[in-house]
């Protein structure tokens, strides 16, 4: 999938590194050294994805997001630094889709790009998702590991499904709570912790070496694996 990506950063070296890495993977790259140019480029050219550094000279990344969002819902991934947790949260609130903390490994950025594109492209309806040994049968609302059924409570299943259908994407506490428990639960993050722990236990996932659920402390969770491409029919045969 070839994407038209706009990279906004005031550092020439990181622009060069990202341009080379992403062009090498077949994407079409435009760059902008500041927010003003970025908005100009985004209004004049069709763009599929914006990679935006938050610390820009002139109008800052936060404002770029706000202005972009006033007329476009192009996916935005922000580049942030470790210390700028609040800035990061503000960017997500303003409509950024995800973030990567500098310095980052390129595979991390690529995973984010896939995740936000998946959201942007209308998801193909699938009846089942397979993540290696784990199968999530969306039609039957059942989960199996190596063909062996995993017994989940309805809430656990809803949580798993919600996460597994958004692989790679940052799912904030508030968003997950609202999605799984419904409105009015947005602040009950201890519910979420309890259920995440139970899910991990049942999936045999270890928090310190996660294969499925990654913790983003203070922000939320990510479903780590991407689904295997070929999922035949109904996923697995019920025993």
């Amino acid at each position: 999938m070839k994407l038209r990506i706009l990279i906004v950063d005031d550092d020439a070296q990181i622009l060069r590194a990202l341009r080379t890495s992403l062009q090498g993977r077949g994407h079409e790259i435009r760059t902008a050294p500041n927010g003003e140019t970025a908005l100009e480029v985004a209004s004049e050219h069709p763009i599929d994805l914006v990679i935006l550094d938050l610390g820009l000279p002139g109008i800052d990344g936060q404002e770029v997001i706000e202005r972009l969002r006033s007329w476009s819902d192009v996916p935005i991934i922000v580049l942030s630094v470790r210390e700028a947790q609040e800035q990061k949260v503000a960017a997500l609130d303003a409509g950024a889709d995800d973030y990567v903390t500098k310095p980052f490994a390129i595979e991390e950025l690529l995973a984010r790009i896939r995740a936000v594109r998946r959201r942007a492209a209308s998801e193909v309806e699938r009846s089942a998702l397979r993540f290696g040994a784990l199968t999530v049968d969306l039609a039957r609302q059942a989960v199996a590991i190596d063909g062996e059924l995993v017994h989940l409570t309805p809430t656990e299943y809803r949580l798993l499904e919600t996460m597994a259908t958004q692989p790679g994407k940052l799912l904030t506490h508030a968003w997950l709570l609202q999605k799984v428990w419904g409105p009015g639960y947005a602040t009950e993050s201890h519910y979420l912790r309890v259920f995440i722990r139970q899910l991990r236990q049942k999936l045999g996932d270890e928090a310190a070496r996660p294969s499925f659920i990654i913790t983003e402390p203070g922000l939320g969770y990510r479903w780590k694996p991407e689904p295997d491409d070929e999922v035949g029919g109904g996923g697995f045969e019920p025993p």
Binding site: S189, A208, T215
Partner: protein, 469 residues
């Protein structure tokens, strides 16, 4: 007391004794008038009046009471009654004897009382001075000591207002008696070694009056002592300032060399690995190539952790290490750090013992992440490959307590006191001693505590507690 333009002090010095004498003489007369009491009995009662007046009102009251008693005895009890004449010669003798006795009693008694009061006051003054000196030298803030001293002087003399001006405090120290209208202020210099180090400005407790000779003497004695004590404080704080400056410049030098060293070391590995790969030498196996690339990656991550610490260090030094707290689950922060540090911890068996009932704690997630990163990095660095590292978290009273335990060689007891100091490092070759110092600064900025204890069976355990609310 009413304001008077002048002479108020003199008025008061006469009015009060006379009032005391009048009151007691009146009471004595009433008592002696009880029917059945003889003239001799009445005389004894008047002796009591004089004694009482001397004790309560001093010499003037005693003399006034003597005179009043003499007149009353004559007027009410010696015939002819109600006249100031005496019929019988022996009554005259008795009256004169009474007068002499009462004057002598009054004089002696009042001087004894006054002497005792003076002694007590001297004792209080001496105590005050002694305490002042001790406190000034104890390192207590000078302003606090001077303030309580000013209060004590105001109380002791008493004064309406006492102000102490020195170069050691930015603002003058002022003590005021509530509701009192100050009289004429007077400034008494504090001198030490021929140099004026400050002034004590006194305002008497009566409006329109001046400081009395006696008050001036007392305060001058104080001023002399205080001048010496303040000069001592000034000199020792100058010396401390010089020491601090020396310490700070030593720290800066240590920071500089240590940061330079720590940034260059990974850069050296990176540069070596990258130039090897760029060299295009076809002799590398895939395995060797991967190893070089892994080196670059690990060293870059190491630099990133170092930069994280440098940012925190800069904040600490700028006094800007203010945690931006949000409720967060410590166990999740621990899990996140351990997951991120997998490459660094791969030679160790990391065991997490996180209680499931941990309450959320208001923390700066990034900062606590940094603390845990530093502790785990230390644990990995100072314990041998293959040994376990245990991270546990549990609720302890009103805190969440986190422990990072390794099975390394432990820290010798004599070094325990230094490990939280900046740039102390058990192993000279292995880089900065920033980790624990920054960890402590962050934990303390969260209102928590951090310390080190032995791991049972050998090794080092770093424990920190963060308050739940």
């Amino acid at each position: 007391m009413e304001p008077r333009s002048s002479g108020g002090g003199a008025g008061s010095r006469i009015a009060r004794p006379v009032a005391v004498a009048l009151a007691l003489a009146g009471a004595g007369t009433g008592l002696a008038a009880i029917p059945g009491i003889s003239t001799a009995g009445a005389a004894v009662i008047y002796v009591l009046v004089v004694t009482g007046a001397s004790a309560m009102g001093g010499l003037r009251a005693g003399l006034a009471a003597s005179a009043l008693s003499f007149l009353a005895l004559n007027f009410f009890f010696t015939p002819p009654l109600h006249r100031l004449t005496v019929a019988k010669p022996e009554d005259l003798v008795a009256l004169v004897v009474f007068l002499v006795v009462s004057v002598v009693v009054g004089t002696l008694l009042s001087s004894a009382v006054a002497q005792r009061a003076r002694a007590e006051r001297r004792e209080r003054e001496a105590f005050l001075l002694h305490r002042l000196g001790t406190r000034l030298l104890s390192g207590e803030p000078v302003a606090d000591v001077l303030e309580s001293f000013a209060e004590a002087v105001t109380e002791l003399l008493p004064l309406a207002r006492c102000e102490i001006r020195t170069e050691l405090t930015a603002e003058p120290i002022v003590s005021e008696r509530r509701g009192a209208e100050p009289g004429e202020p007077e400034s008494i210099p504090m001198v030490a070694m021929g140099r004026e180090v400050g002034q004590i400005v006194l305002s008497p407790a009566l409006p329109g009056t001046e400081i009395s000779e006696q008050e001036r003497n007392v305060v001058q004695a104080f001023a002399g002592q205080m001048g010496l004590a303040l000069e001592g404080v000034r000199q020792s704080s100058e010396a401390a300032g010089a020491r601090l400056e020396a310490e700070a410049s030593r720290l800066r030098a240590a920071l500089f060399s240590s940061v330079t060293h720590d940034l260059r070391t990974p850069l050296a590995s990176i540069t070596a690995a990258v130039t090897s790969l760029l060299d295009g030498d076809p002799g590398f196996s895939d395995e060797q190539r991967t190893e070089l690339l892994e080196t670059i990656r690990h060293e870059a991550e190491r630099m990133n952790r170092l930069v994280g610490n440098l940012v925190d260090l800069a904040r600490i030094r700028a006094g800007a290490l203010v945690p931006s707290k949000t409720p967060a689950a410590i166990d999740e922060i621990i899990e996140g750090v351990v997951a991120r540090l997998q490459p660094l911890l791969k030679d160790h068996e990391v065991m997490l013992r996180l209680r499931e009932d941990l309450p959320e704690v208001p923390v700066d997630v990034v900062q606590i992440d940094q603390v845990l990163t530093n502790l785990l990095e230390n644990a990995a660095r100072f314990s041998s490959p293959g040994s376990p590292i245990v991270v546990s978290a549990a609720r302890w009273q009103h805190t969440v307590e986190v422990q990072v335990a390794d099975r390394g060689e432990g820290i010798p007891p004599e070094e325990l006191a230094h490990v939280f100091e900046l740039f102390w490092s058990g192993d000279e070759s292995s880089g900065t001693g920033m980790g624990l110092a920054i960890g402590r600064a962050i934990v303390e900025a969260h209102g928590g505590k951090i310390w080190i204890q032995d791991t049972p069976g050998g090794g080092t355990t770093v424990v920190f507690q963060l308050p739940v609310t």
